[in-house]
């Protein structure tokens, strides 16, 4: 079965500092990995995905993620965090079973707090 783990409930960072949100995955076969962001009382917004190709994936709002097959990780990164990046971040992996119809397995979420 496919799964992802987000080991940190919360990440605190000062504005202007680099931001990293960790995600590790467990899949059979090649993973389809995603990052989503959720602002308070809102739905999830897609940030980026890794399907194949370059290990460094660039996404929305200046975010990028690095796929590391040997460490089974897909960490989300931003070189310089903004206060407006404060939100709940979810890592997800696509369920690749034949009848899954594109279902995603979400991690438990990491709350990012960026202080001025």
């Amino acid at each position: 079965a496919q799964s992802v783990a987000q080991p940190e409930d919360q990440v605190n960072v000062a504005e202007g500092n680099p931001l990293t949100v960790k995600c590790t995955y467990s899949v059979s076969g090649n993973p389809y990995l995603f990052w989503y962001v959720q602002y308070p009382n809102r739905g999830l917004q897609f940030l980026l995905k890794y399907i194949t190709g370059d290990n460094l994936v660039k996404g929305s709002y200046g975010f990028e993620a690095e796929f590391n097959k040997s460490q089974t990780s897909f960490h989300l990164k931003k070189p310089s965090a903004l206060v407006s990046d404060s939100a709940l971040y979810f890592c997800a992996v696509r369920d690749m079973t034949t009848d899954s119809w594109g279902k995603l397995q979400f991690g438990s979420g990491t709350q990012v707090v960026v202080t001025p």
Binding site: N41, G43, Q45, L88, F90, W101, F106
Partner: protein, 113 residues
């Protein structure tokens, strides 16, 4: 462009009352549709998904049901709400055939009192 609408945004219902949450998608056809529940502002639980009209798959046995009466309409229902049904309900859709990215509605905050 495609848009997803979900309503109402907030709902307060007494225990034992019925529930109907609606989700519609515009600008696409034959989407896959999903209902999620998010409890305590954290983890997402997939409740139902649908790959076509009248085709509903349930992920978790519970007090809720879903229906898809039209191609781009997905409804979440309950005959009698429980306290434990409180939460944030999210509808999502993904394109057919490229089921990689799910796009979410703004959500419904349900409080059962």
């Amino acid at each position: 462009s495609q848009t997803i609408h979900q309503w109402p945004a907030t709902l307060v219902q007494p225990v034992g009352s019925p529930l109907s949450l609606e989700c519609t998608v515009e600008g696409t056809s034959n989407p896959n549709l999903y209902w999620y529940r998010q409890a305590a502002g954290r983890g997402l639980q997939l409740l139902f998904y649908s790959v076509g009209i009248g085709q509903i798959s349930s992920e978790v046995p519970q007090n809720l049901s879903a229906s898809r009466p039209q191609d781009r309409q997905f409804i979440l229902s309950s005959k009698k709400l429980l306290l434990s049904d409180s939460g944030f309900y999210l509808c999502a859709w993904s394109p057919r055939g490229r089921e990689n990215i799910q796009y979410f509605g703004a959500g419904t905050r349900l409080s059962v009192l």
